[in-house]
């Protein structure tokens, strides 16, 4: 029997008990990828051989009686924004087509050291700019629930891979919701840890002060196990927090909300949120109340400005971070058309013209403008002030409550192509997730059912104070258990079966 529908924790148990080998589990997932990824397009690059090699090595070490990491042998998919030595890393961009990093990101090193076979690299919006994965230079990923719909973004590939049982675990990155929103619209679990909780070393930067890597899984416990593995201090990232990883696994196992005070953010809900999304959210609130949580409504008035703030800070930092893509040392190089003896500047310009997509160019232009002399104070400077106000709103809220909750995304998965010509409407997808990035606090999204009107998954977001990531897992796991009791089976089991092609072995 294939192992693809097992959770990572279950696979880990079976591996430890010797019921299956990592090589078998890894092969099962590679077969699944071969069978469905032609339709889903969750992967940009596969490393089947490398994954099997790791798997066999783990099996041999286990047979030799070595003490292994609990997740050793459990395969994983990694978002293409993470540097993986020897495996092509493009960040979804044409400008990095074929680039093989000569080094591993911090978290890649952690995965390798723990013996997790890396199946491949997942699709994403170019340089993580987008909420639908349609801005990938290599074609969109399709939502396993409905192949005509978006899987969210920027980490649509990771969420779809996990949702389509192509991988039990995946790594995502979240700058404004790129882990949580895809999790919400694909019925999976995604966590953005506290800023500084997971090293950014080796993540191709979008916005340095907002980027954070985290787990994408099908259960809250699996997310905690992966979070624990990739978290912790890294001296190579100056912004990495020098403190132990919060007790996330213990919290996921505790799963008890009795006596907890849970805040509902007035500004994150109501108008602009799809009816089915609101209905599922309200039901979840009822469940939490029944389980003994005290529900409090809180107000965060500055959240109104979160989106505008974000769309100044992000493009400003991105415009500078993306300057390194200049055709001089790596990646694409394009000569300007019809110029016999081009200068370095002309080659840079032609390469950036050909190598960057429209959304990337749009944000580089916005960011360049926002940082320009004469505009800096009005744009970037003001945005930083509002950012402080948003952090203060959170601080006040967390004086009253232990965690905050909201719908993760205002809508369920929309149709591919439907928002491509309307960037503002696309940006609004992240209206509920962005405040956490601006304040550096952690957030988790878990599935809370499907919307009646379209039968598509709805996500609920839990937010906690910085370095209190364990609270996310406690509340998330408690709600997950309450819902599972109600449903009798995980939400993903309600997703339609994907057509499979015979694996070509």
């Amino acid at each position: 029997m294939s192992t693809i529908r097992l959770s990572a924790a279950e696979i880990a148990e079976k591996l430890a008990a010797g019921e299956v080998s990592s090589a078998e589990v890894t092969q099962d997932h590679l077969d699944r990828i071969a069978a469905v990824d032609g339709d889903v397009n969750a992967f940009l690059a596969l490393d089947g051989e490398g994954a099997l090699e790791t798997a066999r090595d783990v099996d041999a070490r286990r047979a030799a009686g070595e003490t292994l990491h609990p997740l050793a042998g459990v395969p994983i998919a990694v978002k293409d924004v993470v540097a993986t030595e020897g495996i092509v890393t493009t960040a979804g961009s044409r400008i990095l087509e074929g680039w093989v990093p000569p080094y591993d990101a911090f978290l890649t090193r952690r995965l390798r050291a723990a013996g997790l076979p890396i199946l491949g690299k997942t699709n994403m919006d170019e340089f993580a700019m987008g909420s639908s994965t349609e801005h990938s230079a290599y074609g969109p990923t399709h939502n396993p629930w409905d192949l005509d719909r978006i899987p969210g973004g920027s980490g649509g590939g990771s969420a779809a891979a996990v949702g389509a049982y192509e991988a039990p675990l995946a790594i995502g990155t979240d700058t404004g919701g790129s882990i949580r929103q895809p999790a919400a619209v694909t019925g999976t679990v995604g966590v953005k840890p506290t800023y500084g909780g997971v090293s950014r070393y080796g993540l191709i930067a979008l916005a340095s002060s907002l980027d954070q890597a985290g787990p994408v899984t099908r259960s809250v416990l699996d997310a905690a196990l992966l979070h624990e593995l990739i978290g912790g201090h890294d001296p190579l990232d100056s912004t990495s927090i020098d403190a132990p990883v919060p007790p996330v696994v213990e919290a996921a196992r505790r799963a008890d909300v009795s006596g907890l005070r849970i805040g509902i953010v007035r500004e994150l809900g109501g108008e602009g949120y799809q009816a089915g999304v609101r209905a599922r959210f309200d039901e979840a609130v009822t469940l939490l109340t029944k389980a003994g949580a005290e529900i409090v409504e809180v107000s965060c008035p500055s959240f109104e400005y979160a989106l505008s703030t974000y769309y100044l800070i992000l493009p400003a930092e991105a415009s500078s971070n993306l300057a390194k893509f200049d055709a001089m040392r790596y990646g694409l190089r394009v000569g300007p058309h019809g110029v016999a003896d081009p200068s370095a500047e002309q080659v840079m310009a032609a390469t950036r013209e050909a190598g960057f997509g429209d959304e990337v160019k749009r944000r580089i232009i916005i960011g360049t403008y926002a940082l320009s002399s004469g505009y800096y104070d009005a744009y970037y400077g003001s945005a930083q002030k509002v950012r402080t106000l948003i952090a203060q709103d959170f601080a006040r809220a967390f004086e009253q409550v232990d965690v905050l909750i909201s719908p993760t995304s205002p809508t369920t998965a929309f149709r591919l192509g439907s928002k491509l010509d309307d960037p503002m409407s696309m940006y609004l997808q992240d209206v509920a997730t962005i405040p956490a990035n601006l304040a550096g606090i952690p957030g988790l999204s878990l599935p809370v059912g499907v919307a009646e009107e379209d039968g598509l998954p709805v996500g609920l977001q839990v937010l906690a104070p910085a370095m209190a990531d364990d609270r996310l897992y406690n509340v998330g796991a408690a709600l997950e258990r309450l819902l599972l009791e109600q449903w009798g089976a995980p939400l993903l089991s309600k997703a339609p079966e994907l057509a499979t092609k015979e694996a070509t072995k």
Partner: protein, 504 residues
């Protein structure tokens, strides 16, 4: 738009009409073992692109980490320049595209430098004797160096006309401290000398702090000269030019002088000075127009989000203050008194960069007079003739003291000592070994000397007669003959004694 070419106005004439204002920006490359933001080596002269890593190559995903030793050096430079040290300062990104800049932004400090508001003093020889000029320091901040572009195929080595370019990133990320003065006003005709003295004193200071090699010829210390003229007595500054990479003390002086003459020419012709960057030409002694700065380049500075602020504790700053060496001016005064040198002698010693060498030679046992005699005589000449820094001749202070000890013991004379130095430079061993190997020891065997004296008397009967007649001064000719006979290896004093003995 470059102004129409105008005549230079002779320096002295220019100073009759205008007051110069200068601003000096000096980049000092620190001598830390690793780069500013990564662990790569900083050793000069390695094979191109061998001292690089994901961070200093600007590979996607790589991140910087601040070099604590560089921060320490920055604070010590700041303290030595009487600056305030910021309890909290940040790095900023200076954004511009250039092939030798790996990230296309330079990680620097902008409005929050680590050291600010300092001062230093320099002494310049004026018509009325030595005069002290105070130089106010605006700031000293940390930043990283860029890579180095090599333009191949053109005749000038500049990018214009080159056929292709190569980039060496070994230098990318080397820590730099940029020290910026406030406008230096009121130096008048001494402006070129003040500029030179300031750069010289800064060089001396960073060497004394042991934070930089400060080799201008290798580019580990580089100076940009900002200069403007205003009508005499005006308190409004004129439009400035910024002359880049003026890389020797002499050039600093010449560049200031040239720019004064050029600006005066433009102003006298009723034209406007263009605010621009200019290139200094060492060979011809002129500056030429570089980039125009009139539409003020926009570097889009913003705080570096990949780094946390630098926040040195008061205790650390005080600890570093305690490690500061004696200020160079005080040290010079103390040593001059100890050694009994005249002002002129001391100035020559400082000018030759020999102060440390002489100090070490004296502590190795030589007298101040002997130490100065060798370092400013034979050794300075060798340095000059071979264009080698005097501390790189291959002769150590201890060896100089040893050579002098041999002279004092009358085992060699000054002339033979020069041959010992030849041997030292050629790496032939210790002074003792060289004396033995080259057979330089003076002949103290009176028998051999007496025989040589006899031969000389016999060969020069006329001279001998004169001496017999009491004209002792004529002995010189005979001494010369004996020394020649002995191939210089005789103690001239003893030879003289023997001659007088024999002829009296």
């Amino acid at each position: 738009m470059t102004a129409t070419r105008t005549e230079l106005v002779p320096f002295d004439a220019a100073l009759e009409t205008y007051d110069p204002a200068m601003g000096l920006e000096v980049h000092v490359e620190l001598n830390t073992a690793s780069k500013m933001f990564c662990g790569c080596s900083t050793v000069f002269g390695a094979e191109p692109n061998t001292q690089v890593c994901p961070t200093c190559l600007g590979l996607p995903g790589a991140l910087p980490v601040v070099n604590g030793k560089a921060v320490e050096s920055a604070i010590r430079i700041g303290l030595a320049l009487n600056c305030s040290i910021a309890p909290w300062s940040r790095f900023a990104r200076k954004n511009y595209f250039y092939p030798d800049m790996p990230k296309n932004f330079q990680t620097s400090q902008y409005d929050e430098p680590i050291a600010y508001d300092g001062w230093t003093e320099v002494t310049v020889e004026t018509d009325e004797g030595p005069r002290v000029f105070r130089i106010d320091i605006e700031r000293a901040h940390m930043e990283e160096d860029t890579g180095k572009s090599l333009h191949v195929g053109g005749s000038t080595g500049r990018i214009h006309g080159a056929d292709h370019s190569l980039v060496d990133y070994n230098r990318a990320g080397i820590p730099l401290i940029e020290v910026v003065t406030k406008p230096i006003l009121g130096a008048g005709k001494y402006a070129p000398l003040v500029a030179r003295a300031y750069v010289a004193s800064l060089r001396e200071l960073v060497k004394a702090l042991d934070v930089s090699d400060a080799r201008m010829e290798q580019g580990s210390m580089r100076c940009d000269v900002n200069l403007s003229l205003a009508p005499s007595g005006s308190d409004v500054l004129g439009t400035r030019s910024e002359t880049k990479n003026v890389n020797s003390l002499r050039s600093v002086e010449r560049a200031v002088r040239y720019e004064v003459e050029r600006h005066a020419g433009i102003l006298d012709a009723g034209q406007k000075v263009v605010q621009e960057t200019r290139h200094w030409h060492e060979d011809t002694g002129v500056t030429t127009s570089g980039r125009e700065k009139s539409d003020a380049e926009d570097y889009r500075y913003f705080p570096e989000p990949d780094l946390v602020p630098v926040a040195p504790s008061d205790a650390w700053v005080e600890e570093l203050r305690a490690t500061l060496p004696e200020p160079p001016a005080e040290r010079r005064a103390r040593l001059q008194a100890e050694w009994g040198y005249s002002d002129l002698e001391m100035r020559d010693v400082v000018g030759a960069g020999a102060i440390d060498l002489i100090e070490a030679t004296i502590s190795a046992g030589a007298t101040p007079t002997a130490a100065r005699k060798w370092w400013l005589g034979d050794l300075a000449r060798r340095a000059n003739d071979t264009a080698t820094p005097i501390d790189e001749l291959g002769v150590t202070p201890t060896q100089v003291a040893e050579v002098q000890a041999l002279v004092d013991a009358k085992r060699i004379n000054d002339k033979l000592a020069r041959q010992v130095f030849d041997g030292l430079v050629a790496g032939e061993g210790t002074p003792e070994e060289i004396v033995a190997a080259r057979g330089l020891e003076v002949v103290s065997d009176d028998g051999a000397l007496a025989a040589a004296v006899d031969r000389a008397i016999e060969a020069n009967p006329d001279v001998a007669d004169k001496i017999r007649d009491g004209k002792v001064a004529a002995a010189g000719a005979l001494i010369g003959a004996v020394m020649k006979d002995m191939r210089g290896q005789a103690d001239a004093g003893r030879v003289r004694e023997l001659i007088i003995e024999k002829l009296s």
